[in-house]
């Protein structure tokens, strides 16, 4: 079933009157600035790694490579320093710092975080292995005997060995294959051990590391780095959620069915108008009810916040989401966010294309509500296998009518040939067939990973650049 809805009515609530040219220029500048920030952060990340090595070289490390023993030791030290740098960068990426989140997005940040995990572990293991060999050579001991001797004779070394074990545990449980076998909560708790791993690694760095010794100026670089990471974690992982929760004091007002297996949870709270414009971006929710409070959920808003009202729409995905359908009115809610680049801030072009599948449709509705576009410049494509899973279809249709957007409903089984994101009855078509001004548009895609990738692929082959593509995977 395909329906094209088009309305040329005056938009009911244009965000701001702006000329098409003005909007295009503003968006382009915004996009350029974001890319500049991204490049800057990339440079910063690489520079921190280089600095870890450079600080060692500045201490005369380059002179250590003239014999096997000191060369082995030096490699070990450098591995440890770079490994430490990677771990700290990983913590920064996971700290939900607005600058990072608003530049590369939470998704990308966590993707990079995940990619750094294994290299960091390898470096830490290399640190241990090379130093055991290096010191062993110096002491004329085999590495294992050297390890025993270090454990016994050096302060804080046993804690460092524990740290290594914790790092191994954290990375191994994060491997996709292992992670699937255990519930999310298990992985989450183990992942918290990262903090223990970092903390247990600290003492030996400062009691035995030559760069960390008192009087070394390099010591201050590392102390400041550690403090920055600690401050970021405290500020954005701990303080920000608490502050936001107390500021808005959210509670559930009602839970209504939103179609097949999905519910809309409506919340009320104070000063919610401050969150206006957060549509599409996600918040992390904690419903403070027995059995639910310890589980947090990343959900996007399904309606842009207005004074006193907030709404999310969720489907029974994981165990936790299923329980949410029975959450009682009056339940207090802790919240942090908004996170992610899946929102207005990521716009770079005047045209807007929103493509959603299943429950992934819901954040698009919130974006559509407040997005800046000229009538006729926006296209909404909803994809579902059955009409019942075209969540919030009626609301979106009404918004499209008001704002002058084009809406397509693509319902049916997945196509066997051609574009895999389209239903069978649309075989042979592509994204550009639905959107005439595709090249001059931003494309927001939200749905299951494979499907999302297929849409993005389609958009790319139509000539769109990365900065025009925005996506949110909806399969946590």
């Amino acid at each position: 079933m395909t329906t094209a809805l088009r309305s040329a009515d005056r938009p009911a609530q244009p965000p701001r009157p702006r000329t098409a040219n003005g909007l295009a220029r503003t968006l382009r500048q915004r996009g350029r600035r974001r890319l500049l920030r991204e490049d800057f952060l990339t440079v910063l990340a690489w520079a921190s790694g280089a600095a870890a090595v450079a600080l060692y070289l500045a201490d005369g490390g380059a002179g250590q490579f003239n014999n096997l023993t000191t060369a082995t030791t030096s490699i070990g030290i450098i591995a440890g320093l770079v490994g430490t740098d990677l771990v700290l960068v990983m913590l920064l990426l996971a700290a939900r710092i607005p600058l990072i989140d608003g530049t590369v997005g939470h998704d990308r940040a966590m993707e990079i975080h995940g990619k750094l995990g294994k290299p960091a572990l390898y470096l830490i293991l290399a640190h241990m292995v090379f130093l055991l060999i290096g010191y062993g050579l110096a002491d004329r001991l085999n590495p294992i005997a050297e390890g025993v001797s270090m454990w016994n004779s050096l302060p804080d070394m046993w804690i460092a060995f524990i740290s290594t074990v914790l790092f191994i545990l954290v990375v191994v449980t994060s491997l996709v294959a292992v992670r699937r076998r255990y519930p999310y909560e298990f992985w989450y708790v183990v992942h918290l051990l990262t903090y223990a791993a970092v903390l247990t690694a600290l003492p030996h760095q400062f009691s035995e590391g030559q760069l960390f010794a008192p009087g070394q100026w390099q010591r201050w670089y590392w102390i400041v780095f550690y403090l920055v990471v600690l401050a970021a974690l405290l500020r954005y992982r701990i303080w920000a959620p608490i502050a936001l929760t107390f500021r808005h004091q959210l509670s559930v007002t009602r839970v209504v069915s939103a179609g097949d297996g999905a519910v809309s949870i409506e919340l009320t709270g104070l000063r919610l108008e401050e969150l206006s414009g957060a549509g599409g971006r996600f918040f992390i929710w904690r419903f403070l009810a027995p059995g639910l409070w310890w589980h947090h959920h990343p959900f996007s808003l399904s309606a842009d916040p207005v004074a006193g009202r907030l709404r999310i729409t969720v489907r029974n995905l994981g165990k936790g989401s299923a329980a949410l359908t029975s959450v009682r009115p009056g339940t207090k809610v802790a919240v942090s966010g908004p996170y992610g680049l899946f929102g207005h801030a990521a716009r770079t072009r005047p045209g807007l294309v929103l493509v959603g599948s299943g429950i992934g449709i819901t954040p698009l509705r919130a974006i559509l509500e407040r997005a800046e576009f000229e009538p006729g410049e926006a296209t909404v494509i909803l994809r579902a296998s059955t009409p019942e899973t075209l969540y919030l279809r009626d609301e979106i249709a009404e918004l499209c009518r008001q704002r002058g957007a084009t809406m397509y409903e693509l319902v049916g089984q997945r196509a066997r040939h051609g574009n895999p994101w389209l239903p069978r009855n649309q075989t042979g078509l592509a994204l550009s067939d639905y959107v005439p001004n595709l090249r001059a548009s931003d494309v927001y895609v939200c749905g299951p990973k494979k499907w999302t990738d297929a849409v993005l692929q389609d958009a790319k082959s139509a000539g769109l650049s990365d900065e025009q593509l925005h996506h949110e995977r909806f399969d946590w």
């Binding site: 490049d39 450079a54 005369g60």
Partner: protein, 200 residues
């Protein structure tokens, strides 16, 4: 990663590494001054073997050094001591030195030769060698001053010294052994035990 980011990141990283390298190279350079004693040690072997009476192979290195010293101003080669040994081989006398092994004795003039003064981290240093019978019999650093001339006032100043110049020792002829404790307690204990039984 975007090309611009990649280029900038590479540039920044290499820049930082280069800075670190540069800073490190300076500190290494500074610590190399200790090489005065280090590589002089190489020559020391010759001096000691020479004084021991055997025309040791080490005399090749020393011959190079002395040839340089024998030159009017070439003494600078010896002055650093370290340069003495390396400089000698580069100055071409190193090539003769291997051949001059036997003729070394004829190639070296007897007498005392003093090198040019060299600035080191520890102040000015000047090396003097004594050649006798075609062999270096002594290497000394007669002048060693701090920038503030402080060291001139201290007659017990610690100066670079060759390994051959210290009182030699074998475990057989000492009564006791001193060493940094953590290093080799086992060794100290066993050596001490051996000494004890030797003396008991």
């Amino acid at each position: 990663m975007r090309a611009r980011a990649a280029a900038a990141a590479a540039l920044a990283s290499f820049g930082i590494l280069a800075l670190g390298w540069q800073a490190g190279a300076q500190s290494i350079e500074a610590s190399k001054v200790v090489g005065v004693t280090n590589s002089a040690t190489g020559t020391a072997g010759s001096a000691s073997s020479g004084s021991a009476g055997s025309p040791g192979s080490g005399s090749s290195a020393s011959s190079g050094g002395t040839t340089a010293a024998g030159g009017t101003t070439g003494a600078g080669g010896t002055s650093t001591g370290s340069t003495g040994s390396t400089g000698s081989s580069t100055s071409g006398s190193g090539s003769t030195s291997s051949g001059s092994q036997s003729s070394a004795s004829s190639g070296l003039k007897n007498g005392t030769f003093t090198g040019a003064t060299e600035q080191t981290r520890y102040g000015l240093i000047q090396v003097q060698i004594v050649v006798s019978g075609g062999k270096i019999t002594d290497v000394q650093t007669p002048q060693l001053t701090g920038d503030d001339m402080r060291s001139d006032m201290i007659n017990s100043e610690a100066a670079p010294i060759l390994r051959s110049e210290v009182l030699q020792a074998q475990s057989a002829n000492v009564d006791t052994v001193s060493g940094a404790t953590y290093t080799s307690e086992g060794y100290l204990a066993s050596l001490q035990a051996a000494l004890n039984s030797a003396h008991a």
